[in-house]
């Protein structure tokens, strides 16, 4: 069930576009904001609310890599794997994270704290290698900094 607050926010987005369907991505973002991801149930709720079939909405949801259709941890680590970070050695960062957290791309730590995902260019190539955790950007990374960075997230 969509909450009153979610409905209120989705209604606002619908008011800005010609048809409710046009607000579906915004609606998915709103649901993901409150649940962390978009479950099948949430997908159905949003589809009903904006007047789309679940299949049509899922084709949109699964197109975008930052709409999560599987549960994620409390914090999502996005590791930039694009060319400037490659040249500057992002693989060491990635491998250290895999080792420290004992997970690989697409997986979540057992305590539900972190999910790690690859991400294309974060647009901070002069400060490569870079990654984001939730809304925070970390640049000019070295493996030595990782422990301290990770402790900020509980």
């Amino acid at each position: 069930m969509l909450t009153t607050e979610e409905k209120h926010q989705i209604d606002h987005e619908i008011s800005l576009v010609p048809s409710p369907k046009n607000a579906c991505i915004e609606a998915l973002k709103i649901v993901q904001q409150s649940h962390g991801w978009v479950s099948d149930e949430s997908l159905r709720d949003v589809a009903d609310y904006v007047g789309m079939s679940t299949a049509e909405l899922d084709s949109v949801a699964t197109f975008y890599n930052l709409i999560f259709r599987r549960p994620v941890g409390r914090h999502v680590i996005l590791v930039c794997d694009s060319i400037s970070c490659y040249v500057m050695g992002y693989e060491d960062i990635r491998n250290q994270l895999f080792e420290k957290l004992n997970i690989k791309y697409g997986q979540t730590t057992e305590d539900g704290r972190f999910t790690i995902l690859p991400n294309c260019c974060l647009g901070t190539c002069d400060c490569a290698p870079a990654l984001m955790i939730d809304n925070d950007l970390y640049r000019n990374l070295t493996v030595e900094q990782l422990d301290e960075i990770l402790t900020k997230y509980t």
Partner: protein
């Protein structure tokens, strides 16, 4: 040296508030166009200035606008969209403008919207630019409060709404018709052209999509004129350009310089030259989807015609450097992995061809390559080239591949003949799984 775009940007400092921006001349161009110029006059001035689209395509901005239906019979509402979905790998120039001076972008957007008589505008911002999202939200709020946005702006009778839209990923969204689909709440597949967005764009209405850097140039062109703008460039291309350098250079960064500054000056004077212990081998001049240039090209001016004549594209003007300790096959593989992953999957050559290219490059990089693999790669550079795919993604992907096969073919052959990557000790590519 004049730096109109970045003159009020101090990295690490909060951008100017609207009031501060007005004190240094901000929003004068809005007053000028609304009070003294017709939309047609704005279009002509911008066309005459030879401002070319800074997103990479380099199309004359005023000319692009001129295809929008004007007059009382034109469909309404018309839309203006600022393409702030900077996702070309190696590109970080619009971030500087978005975080550093969002008021300048809004001012440019009002000018552009007036020129095409758009009444609704969007900033389509990539999700990763969190600081920019905050700054733009604040800047739009201030612009409404000051009467530069909303109904009857400055008593002119011109109305303009502005909204910030943050994306949810995918490189495809930077392609203007795919961006429009994303804004409409659809999968970001590109659209067939014609009809062009100027005639039938967002929600089927006339729409212009302009890059952030393009839009930020407009206030200065309005205030100082077309001739002033042309004279900023060192070559036949006009204006200044945000150039960037990333990779193993001493001081990577982004600088506003006269259009047509040579690659060598950007690389050596601004980026500080190569880091100690690293030698230059090549560069992509303007993002992942541009052809490699090498040593012999370093004295070329960075402008649209010069780089095109050398067989590449200036693209976004942000260079990525290939050094001697990075494997050219691994470098190319990283790029093709990106393009294969970001293909929207709509047209077959792109959906099937790019993963094939990636798999072959992976095999070569692992030392499992065969001589005929190079011919298959050569074939793909033609088969996925312009005209064979629905949009420019796969042809863009083929640009670094075809030029890597041209300039670094011996390195590909060494992988195949020696059955391993000669760089493997320093840089072993591992698939992103």
């Amino acid at each position: 040296m004049e730096k109109p775009l970045t003159q009020h940007i101090v990295p690490g400092r909060k951008p100017l508030s609207l009031k501060e921006y007005e004190k240094v001349g901000g929003y004068q161009s809005v007053r000028k166009v609304l009070k003294e110029m017709t939309p047609q006059e704005v279009q002509t001035l911008v066309k005459d200035s030879n401002l070319r689209g800074r997103g990479g395509a380099g199309f004359n901005t005023g000319l692009k606008w001129s295809f929008v239906p004007m007059g009382p019979d034109a469909a309404t509402p018309k839309y203006l969209v600022a393409n702030a979905d900077e996702m070309e790998p190696g590109t970080f120039k619009d971030r500087l403008l978005l975080e550093g001076n969002p008021q300048q972008l809004i001012e440019g957007m009002i000018v552009a919207a007036y020129a095409i008589q758009a009444s609704i505008s969007y900033v389509f911002l990539r999700w990763a630019y969190k600081v920019a999202a905050q700054e733009i939200t604040q800047a739009i709020h201030e612009a409404y409060a000051a009467g530069y946005l909303g109904k009857n702006i400055l008593g002119s009778g011109f109305d303009l709404e502005m909204h910030l839209h943050t994306g949810v990923g995918r490189y495809m969204c930077g392609e203007e018709t795919a961006l429009l689909n994303a804004l409409e709440g659809k999968r970001a597949n590109p659209r067939a052209k014609p009809p062009f967005p100027q005639v039938s764009g967002l929600f089927g209405k006339p729409t212009i999509v302009n890059n952030v850097e393009t839009l930020c140039n407009l206030p200065h062109i309005i205030n100082n004129g077309a001739e002033w703008f042309k004279k900023l460039g060192l070559t036949e291309d006009a204006g200044t350009k945000l150039y960037g350098v990333s990779g193993r250079v001493k001081t990577p960064g982004c600088w506003e310089l006269p259009m047509g500054t040579t690659i060598r000056e950007i690389l050596e004077e601004h980026a500080g030259g190569m880091q100690d212990g690293y030698l230059f081998r090549g560069l992509l001049p303007g993002g992942a989807s541009t052809d490699f240039l090498v040593e012999e090209h370093l004295d070329l001016p960075m402008d649209y015609p010069s780089i095109q004549a050398a067989g590449s594209r200036m693209g976004t003007g942000t260079m990525i450097i290939l050094d001697d300790q990075t494997c050219p096959v691994g470098f190319t593989l990283n790029l093709q992995h990106f393009f294969a992953q970001e293909s929207c999957g709509f047209c077959t050559p792109c959906r099937e061809g790019l993963p094939w290219v990636e798999k072959i490059l992976l095999a070569i990089d692992k030392g499992e390559g065969k001589p005929e693999h190079l011919l298959t790669l050569d074939f793909h550079t033609k088969y996925l080239g312009p005209g064979n795919t629905f949009c420019a993604l796969a042809p863009g992907a083929m640009e670094p591949l075809q030029s890597a096969l041209k300039y670094f073919r011996e390195d590909f052959e060494r992988h195949i003949h020696e059955h391993h990557c000669p760089w493997s000790k320093s840089k072993a590519w591992q698939p992103s799984i």
